[in-house]
């Protein structure tokens, strides 16, 4: 579905321009870790999710919100500024964007070691370079929480 060839002309042009505007990230880092069954997993979504009552995301916001692992789905709202993606799936079932229940099931089955106590949300429409300082800050938090597998999930 989300193949560039499936998009409208304007949508395709928009995404192609974004690709042309990408900075050079240099060599790809690659960090080894333990087997999956021993990893502690956190979700970092760029869907603009946050707790009801937490600060909504502004246009261009490059900061993140904390989502405690035990937060019920009824407390999650989305303030992503883009109107060019489907929200009806998230409205029906939070796991289509933020698969917290599926992750807990895999932990219970022993597929992964554990689910982190905290997860995080950015708002994906932020300027790419602006994300770097906050991402570094977040990595420090993740390491303190002994997370050794981060699932990055977009919308």
């Amino acid at each position: 579905m989300a193949r560039l060839t499936d998009f409208s002309d304007s949508e395709r042009k928009h995404h192609l321009q974004k690709i042309r505007d990408l900075p050079d990230f240099g060599a790809t880092p690659f960090v080894a870790g333990p087997s999956l069954a021993r990893r502690r997993v956190a979700i970092v979504t760029t869907s603009g999710l946050h707790a009801r009552g937490d600060r909504p995301f502004d246009i261009g916001a490059a900061d993140y919100r904390v989502i405690p692992g035990e937060m019920p789905a009824s407390e999650l709202v989305m303030s992503h500024v883009s109107v060019n993606f489907d929200r009806s799936g998230f409205q029906e079932d939070v796991n289509v964007v933020f698969p917290i229940d599926r992750l807990r099931e895999l932990a219970a089955d022993g597929v992964i070691g554990a689910v982190s106590d905290f997860h995080y949300a950015f708002m994906g429409a932020a300027p790419i370079r602006a994300l770097e300082p906050k991402a570094k800050e977040l990595a420090t938090l993740l390491k303190k929480d002994r997370v050794d597998a981060v699932l990055l999930t977009p919308v």
Binding site: L22, F90, V96
Partner: protein, 240 residues
């Protein structure tokens, strides 16, 4: 998304990402990525499909077992689709004629009232609502949206919010109210059908389009960008 993979993994934390736009991920080359052939907004495929969601998640997690990267795998299955999609029917009958009879603001208020029972039904069935970024319920958001339609915009409810962010959040809450209400019927969970219904058949969509025009003409720097990008989807503005 791929940028975060670089930034976080550079600090020593392994990452694996879902990719929705393969070309973009191929250009960024993050450490580990799984491209999925799903619509934007649904990185784990489809709602209420736990087995399918779990398969996507397991494929994503399996990338951590790879010895070297960058890795960009393709998930082989399309997302399940709503089987009732062809029978989509709106539980409330709207007509743009209403706007001519009672004015645009009046027509929106009638729609909101008519959709009320369906919205409550959806909220009970799901045990949640995603309305509530602007304020506690859809009522305050509707009032804020209609203040623009009437040409006398209300001040933002929070002094820290710009006029633009306030009206943007009110518009998104109003739209979420409509989407959740119309999905109350079991056959109405097809994303494209809901989207087409909203943008072609409701007075609320006409209200959002009128706010877009207001923003484009405004000298308020917080309103201008909304008119260009953040109120109306490209597939709607393409046809205007």
């Amino acid at each position: 998304m791929g940028a975060l993979g670089h930034y976080i993994e550079r600090e020593g934390v392994p990452t694996a990402q879902v990719s929705l736009i393969r070309e973009q991920t191929a250009a960024i080359k993050p450490p580990r990525a799984l491209w999925v052939p799903f619509m934007l907004g649904r990185p784990f495929g489809a709602p209420n499909e736990p087995d399918f969601q779990r398969n996507v998640l397991r494929s994503l997690l399996s990338l951590f077992d790879r010895p070297a990267g960058p890795v960009l795998d393709d998930f082989p299955e399309d997302a399940p689709t709503a089987s009732e999609a062809p029978s989509f029917a709106c539980p409330v009958s709207f007509a743009s004629a209403k706007a001519r009879e009672v004015g645009l603001a009046g027509a929106v208020l009638e729609e909101v009232a008519e959709l009320g029972p369906w919205y409550e039904l959806a909220r009970r069935r799901r045990g949640r609502t995603t309305v509530g970024v602007f304020g506690a319920g859809a009522e305050a958001a509707t009032r804020h949206v209609l203040s623009y339609v009437k040409g006398s915009p209300e001040a933002p409810p929070d002094p820290a919010w710009s006029a633009g962010m306030a009206v943007k959040r009110a518009c998104d809450d109003l739209k979420a109210y409509y989407y959740e209400a119309v999905a109350a019927q079991p056959g109405n969970i097809d994303a494209r059908a809901i989207e087409t219904w909203f943008w072609t058949e409701t007075a609320a969509a006409q209200a959002l389009l009128s706010i877009r025009d207001y923003c484009l003409k405004s000298s308020d720097e917080s309103l201008k960008p909304l008119g260009k990008l953040s109120l109306i989807p490209r597939f709607v503005t393409d046809t205007r």
